[in-house]
């Protein structure tokens, strides 16, 4: 037991150094978005800001994240931040964290657990809302250009099946298609969030549906790049012209916005990866003994190539539509 108390003392020493230790379990580095997310965390929880960040990359595997959290618990970190690979499967390990008295903050995707007290707060995007925003813009745009009653054929190039972003964004579109009787969802096919797959799927869709397609709804920028290439290669055009195809996208990365500016992507709905500051706010309020809001959405914008629509509303809230200029692009951090 003398050994034990020595341990305890040592731990005390290290916590006296003043830094707050944060263990962050990240999904991986599978996209630019994710890299930006990691960077945001690393910049926020730097030594200069009074933190010690223990960063773990799970390489897209939930089991690695579970291992990492167990490891954090043994390291007796002050806070655990988890960007979960999946929404489910966290009950056991979060319970272990709770028993060890370590608050857990979830970022990005939501977790589904049997007991909400297993995590302290959540910061992230509302993917379904993103989908709804995009659909709302499309409706407003069609109305504005006088195509409000035309028959509109849409194809959805989905993200990786099962990913929260895919589920939310697809849901948003499907709901809108149900509402608007003149919209038809011709096909849903996954492009796995990559450019190459997006291109391959689009090639195949073009062959099948030929000239019918009016709108391509890509669930991230990379897919949109691929789809645009496929469309151009098939001798069609993207843009606002009469027989052209409208390409919609999500994420709003720098490269994505460049295409918006060029008019290739008509609308890019933002998915904000800069979670660091929000998480820091939560930790600060916890340190101060306050109880933060359980769910916190990051602010996300809508970027369009054209001025036709200035404002949209989704879920009862209004959002401004930003028209992309060089200025907007140069301000982008990722």
């Amino acid at each position: 037991s003398s050994n034990g108390s020595k341990d305890a003392k040592k731990a005390d020493d290290s916590s006296k150094s003043g830094n707050i230790t944060v263990g962050f379990s990240q999904v991986g580095a599978e996209s630019d978005w994710r890299t930006a997310n990691s960077t945001s965390m690393k910049e926020t929880f730097s030594e200069e800001n009074g933190y010690t960040l223990i960063f773990d990359d799970a390489q897209q595997k939930q089991e690695n994240q579970i291992k990492a959290i167990r490891n954090f618990i043994q390291q007796e970190v002050d806070y655990i931040v988890l960007a979960p690979v999946t929404e489910t499967g966290w009950d056991t390990v979060l319970k272990e964290a709770k028993d060890a008295g370590i608050p857990v903050i979830i970022v990005d995707r939501m977790v589904k657990v049997s007991d909400d007290s297993l995590y302290t707060a959540w910061v992230g995007s509302n993917f379904e809302l993103e989908g709804k925003k995009a659909a709302a813009w499309l409706k407003a745009y069609l109305d504005a250009t006088g195509r409000g009653n035309e028959k509109i054929n849409i194809v959805d190039i989905q993200g990786t099946i099962g990913a929260s972003a895919q589920i939310g964004r697809t849901k948003g579109l499907e709901a809108a298609c149900k509402e608007n009787k003149n919209w038809t969802l011709l096909a849903k096919e996954t492009g796995e969030f990559t450019q190459a797959k997006g291109q391959e799927v689009m090639e195949s869709l073009l062959k099948k549906h030929g000239d019918d397609i009016d709108v391509v709804y890509c669930e991230n920028d990379n897919e949109a790049f691929g789809a645009i290439d496929a469309i151009t290669a098939a001798g069609k055009k993207v843009g606002t012209g009469k027989d052209d195809i409208l390409v919609m996208s999500f994420d709003s990365t720098k490269t994505g916005l460049t295409d918006v500016k060029d008019g290739k992507i008509i609308l890019d709905t933002e998915c904000n990866p800069l979670h660091g500051p929000r998480v820091e706010e939560i930790i600060k309020s916890l340190e101060a003994g306050k109880e933060p809001d359980k769910k916190q959405y990051v602010d996300e914008e809508v970027f369009a190539a054209v001025k036709d629509v200035a404002k949209i509303s989704a879920d009862g809230k209004d959002y401004d539509v930003t028209v992309v200029t060089d200025d907007v692009i140069s301000k982008r951090a990722y």
């Binding site: 630019d32 096919e189 996954t190 450019q195 190459a196 195949s204 290669a233």
Partner: protein
């Protein structure tokens, strides 16, 4: 008389080792006649060839190139190189990073194309050499030796691109994954054909093919007849690395970027599958490059067919699995033997019936 001649040839054809792989490819393609009639329609659209069939041949290019390397590695070392996809990513990263001069995105070439391509291929060859060293010199089992680069490769690629997707939005770079000038045939097809021809030429004009088979069948006997087993195994891994590098450049040119996470993703499994569908034995020894090439086209034909038939991508593996099993069962010696026996029995019965008729 002509009939007799035909049937004689027919037997020779069915005995050929590429007969079944080709039949399987044709069957996969023919399914489309019923399901997707316009599958075989090839037209010129926008100045280039257009059609499902063109897609099959075009999209299969990287797989074909990698499958060739995989065949050689398999034959010589009796094991597979599972790092090919990762090596593709590394080569793509090197190529794009040099072209973009370190920027995330570029609209003009920062360095010469030749430099970038040569550097990428050299790096890929080094990766191959690393694998080859582990397998040939240290005697580590191929799948385990290549597991190292399989895990590290994409990390290295990300390290090179600093974790970002590097875009090279320059026409001349897009050529390798697109079209050369006004040529209506997609460039990747030329790459695949070139790889096939060059490797076949090398195997024809040197004794390498025989050496590889011999080393793969019996290492110790090969050594005693004066072959340097280590060197030959090593060489096949280097060749496989180089071919993966080329495939990586083509793949990155298609998307004019280096996507470290996705270039060549899961391609190793398809390449191994192609080798097997081509009638090659995965435990080494005799091999047929053309078999693997046909296997690769079969896999892509299957994928494209299923797309054309509106099968959703996440369920696609189920169909793929079923078709693969059917193909390998048909090609399996046991199955062929039982068919032969069945035929023999039927012939016997017929004979007896005829005799009875007399």
């Amino acid at each position: 008389m002509s009939n007799e001649k035909k049937s004689f040839n027919w037997k020779a054809i069915t005995q050929h080792r590429l007969f079944l792989p080709i039949v399987c490819l044709l069957v996969v393609l023919l399914v489309n006649v019923i399901k997707t009639p316009n599958f075989f329609a090839v037209s010129i659209k926008n100045g280039v060839l257009y059609g499902y069939l063109v897609d099959v041949v075009n999209r299969a290019s990287e797989l074909v190139i990698v499958a060739i390397g995989m065949t050689l590695v398999t034959a010589a070392s009796g094991g597979q190189d599972i790092s090919v996809g990762a090596v593709m990513a590394v080569a793509a990263a090197v190529c794009c990073q040099i072209l973009s001069g370190g920027q995330v995105s570029t609209n003009e070439l920062m360095n010469s194309m030749a430099l970038a391509i040569i550097a990428a291929i050299i790096v890929a060859a080094i990766c191959g050499a690393f694998n080859g060293f582990l397998v040939a010199n240290l005697g580590i089992q191929p799948m385990v030796a290549t597991l190292i680069l399989f895990t590290a490769g994409r990390g290295i690629a990300q390290l090179i691109t600093k974790g970002q997707i590097t875009y090279v939005r320059v026409g001349s770079f897009k050529v390798m994954g697109g079209y050369i000038g006004k040529c209506p045939v997609p460039t990747p097809i030329f790459f695949a054909i070139a790889a096939i021809i060059i490797v076949n030429l090398v195997l024809k004009k040197t004794a390498l093919g025989l050496y590889i088979e011999s080393v793969g069948i019996n290492g110790s006997a090969s050594r005693l007849v004066g072959l340097n087993s280590t060197m030959i195994k090593f060489l096949t891994y280097v060749i496989c690395g180089i071919l993966s590098g080329i495939a990586g450049i083509v793949a990155s040119s298609r998307i004019y970027s280096a996507d470290a996470n996705n270039i060549g993703l899961n391609l190793e499994m398809d390449a191994i599958l192609a080798v097997a569908l081509g009638g090659n034995v995965l435990s080494g020894g005799k091999f047929s490059i053309m078999g693997s090439v046909i296997g690769a086209y079969t896999i892509q034909a299957l994928t494209t067919t299923l797309y054309a038939m509106n099968v959703s991508a996440d369920q696609l593996p189920v169909y793929k699995a079923v078709v693969v099993i059917i193909i390998v069962v048909i090609q399996s010696p046991v199955f062929r033997r039982s068919v032969d026996e069945w035929k023999k029995k039927r012939a016997l019965k017929n004979n007896k019936a005829m005799e009875g008729g007399h």
